[in-house]
């Protein structure tokens, strides 16, 4: 009886493989995806939107996303990749650039935001115009002052590359290359960039202690900054006007998306994690250093703007000492294990240039 059951199971299995396994035999390798998980750091809230609800995270999808992220093919001239403006050593912002370079010597009009912990961010871009991580790349891909390419050309270029066919097969089950799969793969890479191992995090986990100066800075932060730059993500992801005058591009921020005058000059509150690496600051990179940013909040805010955030009406009162303490606290948010993580570097490169600014 036991043998009979075994034979029955075996025959069923053979027929099942014969019926379903045919698609595996197309010359582009096998489909055997290894699931991976979005690791939520201890003590963090659950991500607000489940960005992977319809995008099963796999090692193969992540690797494909990484290859796409580092590939200049996605741009018109073959030179500009996502990574051109989102550099790992700058926590995936553009190092030392107020604005980023696009194809044909063009410049963008906004500072490239750092990419990490995106699973907690439900609206992307400084004005929150993007409603899902998967559709975000469409903007830089097609903007004439960024990657300047059409989606159609991108897909056609990828289709001519056998290595992509193999990787799409490995990630999605067959070698078909389409925009949806490309965008889902990119989201698997960018959506799993987690930065949660700074000195601050180690202090929170009891693995390190702040210096007395950093500790004082943390106290200043908690009383003067934390209402917008909420822990542990260091942003509440709201849109606020922090009193910067309208810039030369007439960038009205959130108002462009909502068309409400009450949203004029409001921009997404950025996270302060890795701020040491993401200079210059603000939506147009107009402020070069962290002390200068703090000085803006202390003395620079244009208080006559009607949409100025109510918490900034009296600017932020800080002594020189508190200002310095705050700078040192912000330095504890630098996470070099993130900027050095070879999981995020292109395959075949085992180390990454890193200034190593961490306070450890």
């Amino acid at each position: 009886m036991k043998i009979r059951i075994t034979i029955f199971v075996l025959i069923t299995a053979v027929i099942f493989i014969a019926l379903t396994g045919a698609s595996n035999d197309d010359g582009y390798g096998i489909f055997n995806p290894k699931p991976i998980e979005l690791k939520i750091p201890v003590g963090w809230p659950k991500p607000t939107a489940n960005i992977f609800a319809n995008n099963k995270l796999t090692e193969e999808g992540f690797r494909l996303g990484k290859k796409l992220f580092y590939d200049g093919k996605l741009s018109k001239d073959g030179e500009v990749s996502c990574a051109s403006c989102h550099q790992q050593f700058a926590a995936f912002a553009t190092f030392d650039h107020d604005l980023s370079h696009g194809v044909n010597n063009t410049l963008s009009t906004r500072n490239a935001p750092a990419l990490y912990n995106l699973a907690w961010k439900s609206n992307l871009h400084w004005d929150g115009g993007i409603n899902h991580i998967e559709v975000q790349p469409l903007s830089p891909l097609t903007a004439p002052n960024e990657m300047g390419e059409t989606l159609e050309n991108v897909i056609n270029k990828l289709k001519k590359d056998t290595s992509y066919k193999r990787m799409f097969k490995a990630a999605f089950g067959d070698a078909e290359i389409n925009s949806q799969r490309m965008l889902k793969a990119l989201a698997q890479f960018t959506g799993t960039l987690i930065s949660a191992n700074s000195k601050y995090d180690k202090v929170k986990r009891g693995e390190a202690v702040f210096t007395p100066f950093e500790e004082k800075g943390y106290m200043v932060f908690k009383s003067k900054c934390a209402s917008c730059h909420q822990e542990p993500l260091f942003s509440d992801f709201s849109f606020r006007n922090n009193g910067l005058p309208l810039n030369r591009f007439n960038d009205i921020g959130r108002q462009k998306i909502t068309r409400k005058s009450s949203d004029s000059l409001k921009f997404l509150v950025p996270s302060l994690r890795n701020a040491q690496l993401t200079f210059p600051y603000m939506h147009d990179g107009r402020i070069y250093s962290i002390p200068q940013v703090i000085e803006h909040y202390r003395s620079g805010i244009s208080t006559e703007q009607p949409t100025l955030d109510s918490s900034l009406k009296n600017r932020i009162q800080l002594t020189n000492l508190e200002k310095n303490q705050l700078v040192y606290f912000i330095y504890t948010l630098t996470d070099s294990s993130f900027t050095k993580d070879t999981r995020y570097t292109p395959d075949g490169i085992n180390s990454v240039f890193n200034p190593g600014f961490d306070k450890h």
Partner: protein, 262 residues
Amino acid sequence: MNSIFIKKYWFLWNSFAVSLIIMMIATSFTLNNVPGAANGTLKIRFINTANGKPVVLRDSVYSNVFGEQYQINKLKYYISNVSITNSNGKTNFSEDCHLIDAANEENIIEIPLQAGKYDKLKFLLGVDSIRNCSGAQTGALDPMNGMFWTWNSGYIMFKLEGNSTASTADLQRIEHHIGGYKGSDNVATVIQLDFNTAKNLEIKAGATTELVIETNLDNYWHGNAAIKIAELPMCMITGEPALKVAKNFTRLFSVKEIHQAP
């Protein structure tokens, strides 16, 4: 010899047959999930017209009710969530999304339906809000179709591009990208068409009935709202002007012909 062979391997044959049946049932479940027995097909054909003529891109000059002359270079719109109700009040619903494009040789939506008489058709002109914020889509909703805003996420539900001597815009262009899915900005419009009872639409088993829907652009410019090219040559953001244009959407469509299955 033969009987011994059969007897000896009886179990083997038996399990092979049982497995095959299980596989066939499993396969049939995945291939055919349309309930009901006798099925026919409804073929909905969309025909775009202006001034009583079929729309030909980059060719004919049409005029609207205000006497403004225009040419059409692009005409695309989404039809989704098609539901069709039979004479017993039973509704067949499909959440599929279709892109009607005047550049296509023909624009046809095929729906498998149970045999019977049908008297109501309802569909959404546009894309429902969920599909506007669910990430990357494929098929008709592939952003490659040029119907997705990259800077302010959401689908363009109706796109009309062309030229007009009445246009004050650069190169006398008309660019109407009508979209918006959030709350009061939503331009997706439910269209309901009742069939004339005299020529009730009938689906017959194994046969195809064709329903021809005319999209009459003459009604795009007036009816519930006056849309003058001179005043609105460009409309590429969500909100007020787009909502005004969308007011005329309900008047765009009518049943032109029904070709009953023989």
